[in-house]
């Protein structure tokens, strides 16, 4: 597996488009820090049953140090266990999952319609 051959990231980033989503959420008062949104986006993608993509060609700017993003490694542990093929590169998987999670958020965040409750509800239904 090509992913396993890579080394894992110590910093993760988001695409410009996803950064705009994060900034919109922050500007609208939904999140205090961009990192809160980034973390939630990873969880959302996982909750929605998305799979991390390999070799996605994006122009992601480095934004967050993995140590700050996941200080108790809980996210990485979850990724390792849920996506065993990414066991060696959970941060890379997290980065792509965040991207996918922010795409979901962007769909919801049309105007002022964004709702955490909706995400909670949809994740629960997806895993029922």
């Amino acid at each position: 597996m090509r992913g396993e051959k890579k080394t894992d990231l110590v910093q993760v980033g988001v695409s410009q488009e996803s950064r705009e989503v994060l900034e919109s959420l922050q500007a609208a008062g939904y999140i205090a820090d961009l990192m809160d949104g980034f973390r939630l986006a990873i969880a959302t993608a996982i909750g929605f049953g998305r799979e991390p993509r390999e070799n996605v060609d994006t122009d992601r700017k480095t934004t967050f140090a993995v140590g700050n993003l996941d200080p108790d490694s809980a996210l990485r542990e979850a990724i390792k266990e849920i996506y065993p093929t990414f066991r060696a590169i959970p941060a890379r998987a997290a980065e792509d999952l965040a991207e996918q999670g922010l795409e979901i958020a962007k769909e919801s965040f049309n105007g002022e319609d964004f709702s955490f409750s909706d995400i909670i509800d949809r994740v629960r239904k997806a895993n029922a």
């Binding site: 939904y30 809160d36 969880a43 266990e81």
Partner: protein, 668 residues
């Protein structure tokens, strides 16, 4: 009796250009004029008022300016004038006289853009029996025909109801007393009062002559001097009393106008309160929202754990299932391995593991086959019974379980529900604020306090005037009593040269007493007749069988009585209207002056049965009746049933644009 013959309007209110209504001018005429709200029904009533009295009033009783009366379209097109002519027939002592009264106001020649009353000139044209009379006779003709004070009983709209409500209160206001005087006027009381006043004047002259003569006699001179002085004082006090009564009436009218203005502004005061409440609400909702948003951001920080939880649970369940399957396979393999070992040992020792006897050859063969089959089964189980995988799964499950949820999801849902509710509330409050702001646009906030100050000042002034009137009346009473004493003292001297004057004076005093008694009896009699007549009409009009009639009070206020003759304390707006119509009906039947009745929107607060009762009664209300009605208060197909065959004409006010209404025959 006065009957309307024709009404002509030019550029009056919504009537652009020239319009007219022709009446039959007979004593059995019922005309219906249909018009929607704002079409110009009240303008017709106002046109007649304006022509006769030079003043039209708006709904709050305020006099309307000439500018507000001129048709706006014609004004902007340069026709800066309006006129109304009323043609009537006056039937008096069997003689019929045609009268035409025309009033016109137009901008002065040197005023291009009139903006105030001073910019207009008024033309009056009184024509009696085809002869144009001097304009200063206009008011005299109107006063002899339909004095302004009693016009309210002929040109009738909702205003009367408001005035009438004041009549039912025993502690009646000055205004109610004015209405009372108007009622007595229409009933002819002033004729008797004028007679008494004439006698009083004669008596005064005689008394002066008597005093003058008495002063010539030494024994009477001092008393006569005193009597003359007292009479002068009574005259002065009477003048003061008249002045005060005038002032009381003016102040009372002014106070009413101010109260009406305040009532008009009450709505704006309500809007100002609503605006302030909405602003406070918005502020409080904003603060609440800010707190909720902080909570939401705090929950959002940890929410990822709760969002992850369902997937982790799902995964854990999957892994646990796999682990259980491995455990089951391991368990089965162990059991088979034990069984295999037993079979192999037994075969090797050729001894049955159960009974210890040698194994027969056929069974040995079977046992060898079974060993072979067991080995195959064990080999099959090898992939499923992966102990290493089971250990790894245990670790994974343990780790997944260690990723604990934050437990904020439910709280987040509640916060978001609160925020949605906050948003709806905020939206509602904003709408209320916008409505209030719209109501208040252009509203000068100083107006209400100014009117309130004026109201308070006028109320105080009215109180002072009423107190002064009481004082003056008290003083007049005392002076009159003193005067009587002085006159009695002079009479006791029995001076022969004064006898003749004394006889005349006594005669006049006796006559005045007779007049006093007669007037009181007349008023009591009239009041009784009004009560009986109004009760009879009321019983005809009301649909409530528990009502037996009406009781009249000192001020001609009417109280509804039940079957037991007890007063009904609370009455609806509809009942109020029926009572008012009963009073008007009775006054018209008992009046010394008879004229046409024009009623604006008479059915507003009534149900169908009452409308039909009134329709049945209307033709008997006066010799000539015109009803101004709108479709919301009358259903022509059903409500007009009682007057089928009695309607002389049906007209319709067609309203095409805001400043253009037309009067046409109504098309059925």
């Amino acid at each position: 009796m006065m009957l309307l013959k024709r009404l002509e309007l030019e550029n009056f209110g919504p009537y652009y250009g020239a319009h007219h209504i022709d009446f039959k001018g007979t004593s059995d005429e019922l005309v219906l004029i249909h018009g929607e709200n704002m079409a110009g029904k009240t303008s017709l009533l106002n046109a007649i008022r304006w022509c006769l009295y030079g003043e039209a009033k708006d709904r709050s009783g305020q006099a309307m300016s000439t500018l507000s009366l001129i048709n706006q379209d014609s004004f902007s097109e340069g026709a800066k004038r309006l006129s109304v002519a009323v043609d009537v027939i006056l039937l008096k002592d069997g003689e019929e006289t045609s009268i035409r009264l025309r009033r016109q106001r137009q901008a002065k020649a040197d005023v291009a853009d009139p903006s105030a009353e001073k910019d207009f000139t008024e033309y009056l044209e009184p024509v009696v029996a085809g002869n144009i009379l001097p304009k200063d006779q206009f008011d005299d003709i109107v006063n002899s025909m339909l004095p302004p004070r009693i016009s309210r009983f002929f040109l009738f709209d909702g205003e009367l109801l408001k005035e009438y409500e004041e009549l039912v209160h025993e502690d009646s206001s000055t205004h109610a007393r004015q209405v009372q005087r108007a009622i007595e006027m229409i009933l002819g009381v002033p004729a008797a009062q004028n007679g008494k006043e004439d006698l009083a004047e004669l008596h005064g002259e005689l008394s002066r002559a008597y005093n003058k003569e008495a002063k010539k006699h030494k024994v009477l001179a001092a008393t006569a001097e005193k009597a003359e002085s007292l009479r002068d004082e009574v005259d002065e006090l009477s003048k003061e009393q008249s002045r005060l009564i005038d002032s009381q009436e003016k102040t009372s009218a002014e106070l009413r106008a101010v109260k009406d203005e305040l009532a008009k502004h009450e709505h704006l005061a309500d809007s100002a309160r609503a605006l302030s409440q909405a602003e406070e609400k918005i502020l409080s909702l904003k603060e609440e929202r800010a707190l909720k948003e902080i909570q939401r951001r705090e929950f959002a920080r940890e929410l990822w754990r709760d969002v992850l939880e369902p997937r982790l649970k799902h995964e854990v369940l999957k892994l646990e299932k796999e682990r259980d399957e491995i455990a089951s396979a391991l368990h089965e393999r162990n059991a088979l391995e034990r069984e295999l070992a037993g079979l192999e040992t037994s075969l090797e020792k050729n001894q049955c593991s159960s009974c210890g006897q040698p194994i027969p050859e056929d069974l040995r063969l079977k046992q060898q086959n079974l060993i072979q089959e067991t080995k195959v089964t064990i080999a099959d189980l090898d992939s499923a019974a992966d102990q290493e995988r089971q250990d790894a799964l245990g670790t994974t499950i343990k780790r997944m379980r260690e990723i604990a949820p934050a437990g904020v999801a439910e709280a987040m849902v509640v916060v978001e529900q609160d925020l949605t509710a906050n948003s709806i509330e905020s939206h509602k409050a904003k709408r209320k604020m916008e409505d209030a702001e719209s109501d208040l646009r252009g509203f000068d906030k100083k107006v209400v306090p100014e009117f309130e100050a004026k109201r308070d000042r006028l109320t105080k002034l009215l109180g002072e005037i009423e107190k002064s009137i009481e004082d003056v009346e008290g003083q007049i009473e005392t002076k009159r009593s003193d005067l009587k004493q002085s006159e009695r003292a002079m009479n006791e001297k029995d001076e022969p040269s004064l006898r003749h004057l004394k006889i005349q004076k006594d005669l006049l005093e006796g006559l005045m007493e007779v007049y006093d008694m007669s007037i009181n009896e007349l008023i009591a009699d009239l009041r009784g007749r009004v009560e009986a007549q109004a009760s009879s009409i009321f019983r005809e009009l009301t649909t409530d069988e528990s009502y037996s009639g009406l009781r009249i009070n000192q001020h001609y206020g009417l109280t509804i009585l039940d079957k037991q003759g007890n007063a009904v304390p609370v009455r609806s707006a509809g009942a109020e209207q029926i009572v008012a119509l009963s009073l008007i009906g009775s006054l018209n039947k008992l009046a010394t002056l008879r004229g046409p009745v024009i009623m604006d929107t008479p059915f507003g607060r009534l149900d169908r049965q009452h409308r039909q009762n009134i329709m049945r009664f209307v033709p008997t209300l006066a010799d000539q009746v015109a009803l101004l009605v709108h479709s919301g208060e009358i259903d022509p197909d059903r409500d007009l049933e009682p007057v089928i065959g009695k309607i002389s004409a049906e007209l319709e006010i067609h309203h095409s644009e805001s400043s253009r209404s037309e009067i046409r025959p109504r098309v059925q």
